[in-house]
């Protein structure tokens, strides 16, 4: 079954989702089934990465139709890496989901919640597996539609409006992507990414191709919440159930960044990109995101919203890495993709644990909880340090590579912005820690206890991963460098334009 792995990763959660939806309500069977499925997916994704690193590209023809006519799943180091991030985060989130979902989601909706979760996983994994541009759109819609449903399950009624807001923005994004794909198809007659890469260099003068490219870029930028198209993100992450926030924050935007990398580096030729202001836009948007989103984050009183704005800022770092247009820059972007998934998942899990105990995550209500919940507090401190980029944590590695890439380009302003962003992160993480630890315990929080073990174990697995990948970078940096190599990133450099 070796070469079927790429397919099974998508089909197993797809078949499991409708089955989970009709499992009896009330029991824990839906959770258990989903748990097993996500573990299988994580196992398959890691063996897939191992296979790709050892034996090279995997190509799978769906229905036995040869590419470029049929749909092809094409796995190289880039997809395999992103697929592993998605599957691993899903597998770590699921043990955490049991108690948190029981607390935050009405009981009769729990089977549907897990069903939507599996569909979202199907969509995200599907995007990473496929080598067909239209198929990307199909999976994008599967993952988006299920994430709208997941977000609307939040306890607060504002969850409905924020899910609706995301629905409108997400649909515009997906439609733009589809229009772009249609325009490109009208000129090339193919949807296969490899085939497009072969055909587009001859056609790069055409206005239609330029228009298609612009539509695709805007569409994906909406999906990945690239500043200033991020407006749907803070509310969606704030009002979604904690589990959903953990999963989406760590995976959904990452997968969108993956599509962006594919379109930029695999599909479109380098001289085409140089004729457009793409890289400049990435750098400007990245710098604006780092500064403005971090400042917004400082002024938030809801911790989830604070972290959501911080996510927008972190996506800015990744955009900046892409904008450097060098293999070092893309390597840094890919490393940060992985590390940010680790630290944001850990932070949102810790906030979920606080919500589990006191039912709120407002700055006003958490005073002094650090002493009541020492393990949760410790996790926030370590993951927060990682977000800031303190040496010894995963965040440091991303910042280090990003700054190196910036120095290589002599992009001094970017260097200053990256470091300034870290300073702003010190302020907003400091705000959380101050409230949790340095303020006296309020009466209502006196009785709060440490979060249950089932929430703490996945949380600390992620926290330890944050430290581990800050010390041993052979996996992250090794794979990211290989992936940047596979993408065929040519060192153009912003200065040499």
């Amino acid at each position: 079954m070796g070469n079927h792995i790429s397919l099974l990763l998508v089909v197993i959660p797809l078949i499991a989702a409708p089955i989970v939806a009709v499992l009896p309500r009330g029991g824990r069977l839906p959770w258990l089934t989903t748990l097993i499925i996500t573990f299988i997916c994580a196992f398959l994704a890691s063996s897939q990465l191992w296979m790709v690193l050892n034996d090279g590209v995997i190509s799978y023809e769906l229905g036995g139709w040869a590419p470029p006519w049929g749909i092809e799943y094409r796995i190289d180091a880039v997809n395999a890496f992103v697929a592993l991030i998605v599957a691993a985060i899903a597998a770590i989130t699921l043990p955490y989901a049991l108690l948190s979902a029981e607390k935050e989601i009405p009981q009769h909706q729990i089977p549907l919640f897990y069903s939507a979760f599996l569909l979202c996983l199907t969509g995200l994994l599907g995007i990473t597996q496929t080598g067909d541009l239209f198929n990307v759109f199909v999976f994008l819609e599967i993952s988006s539609l299920s994430s709208y449903a997941l977000i609307s399950l939040g306890r607060n009624r504002q969850a409905l409006t924020s899910a609706y807001q995301y629905l409108i923005m997400g649909t515009i994004g997906a439609t733009f992507f589809l229009i772009g794909v249609g325009l490109i198809y009208s000129q090339t007659g193919t949807l296969n990414m490899q085939d497009l890469a072969k055909l587009l260099p001859q056609l790069s003068q055409l206005k239609t191709v330029h228009t298609g490219f612009a539509f695709i870029m805007i569409g994906i930028a909406l999906k990945l919440a690239m500043y200033p198209l991020h407006l749907w993100l803070p509310n969606a992450y704030t009002y979604a159930p904690s589990v959903v926030t953990v999963f989406l924050a760590a995976t959904a935007t990452k997968v969108a960044i993956y599509i962006m990398l594919r379109v930029l580096f695999t599909i479109f030729p380098d001289d085409f990109l140089l004729a457009t202001p793409t890289y400049d836009i990435f750098i400007l948007s990245g710098m604006a995101a780092i500064i403005f989103a971090s400042i917004y984050a400082i002024y938030q009183s809801n911790i989830k919203k604070l972290l959501a704005y911080s996510s927008v800022a972190q996506i800015g770092y990744i955009a900046l890495g892409i904008g450097f247009a060098s293999s070092k820059g893309v390597t840094a972007a890919l490393i940060h993709l992985f590390n940010h998934a680790l630290m944001k998942a850990a932070l949102f899990m810790a906030v979920g644990a606080i919500i589990y105990r006191i039912g709120s995550c407002n700055m006003k209500n958490i005073d002094g909880l650090g002493k009541q919940m020492p393990w949760t507090f410790g996790a926030i401190v370590i993951a927060g340090l990682s977000l800031i980029g303190v040496p010894g944590t995963a965040g440091f590695i991303s910042k280090w590579y990003l700054v190196t890439a910036a120095l290589e380009q002599q992009a001094w302003i970017s260097v200053v912005v990256i470091l300034f962003g870290s300073l702003l992160a010190v302020i907003y993480i400091g705000k959380i820690i101050e409230a949790l630890y340095f303020k006296p315990v309020t009466d209502s929080n006196q009785s709060a206890q440490e979060a249950p073990l089932l929430l703490l174990v996945p949380l600390w697995v992620l926290v330890c991963a944050n430290i581990y990948f800050g010390l041993d970078t052979s996996l992250t940096v090794g794979v990211a460098e290989k992936a940047a190599d596979v993408l065929g990133v040519v060192d153009i450099g912003i200065m040499n334009k």
């Binding site: 009709v22 799978y60 229905g63």
Partner: protein, 139 residues
């Protein structure tokens, strides 16, 4: 509505024809225009007409909501798992050619089953949406 004999009799006359047409569209989908999606919509239109004329309670007696949920899920499972069978026969996913004795027979059977899954899910989901909206405000 119960006092409208013309409406009731015409509906009773039309519903079997609509269902028959839905089945025609469903099973003729692999030779001509049509298929599972269209058939599912037509099939559910017949039941929605019934619900409009005879009331929601009568319609829910014919197809209870939990059956609809099962039907909706079963359709998706059927759709996805027909593609898996070729894996066990040594071919790639969705390669229906190996399902029958010849390639044409295999592809035909595969498409027929897939369309059946689509038809089941579309019928059920259309009805679920209708019941959800029509049932608002009911005790």
């Amino acid at each position: 509505m119960k006092r409208n004999p013309i409406l009731r009799i015409v509906a009773k006359f039309l519903i079997p024809l609509i269902i028959l047409f839905a089945l025609y569209v469903q099973f003729h989908g692999d030779f001509g225009p049509g298929g599972g999606f269209q058939a599912g919509v037509i099939f559910s239109a017949a039941l929605i007409l019934y619900a409009l004329v005879f009331g929601l309670d009568a319609a829910e007696k014919i197809i209870p909501p939990h059956i609809l949920r099962l039907l909706a899920s079963a359709g998706v499972v059927l759709y996805a798992s027909v593609g898996v069978i070729p894996l066990f026969l040594g071919a790639n996913y969705l390669d229906y050619s190996v399902l029958g004795s010849t390639q044409i027979k295999g592809q035909h059977l595969g498409i027929l089953l897939v369309e059946l899954g689509v038809g089941m899910t579309v019928t059920a989901v259309m009805l679920i949406i209708f019941f959800a909206f029509a049932g608002r405000g009911r005790p």
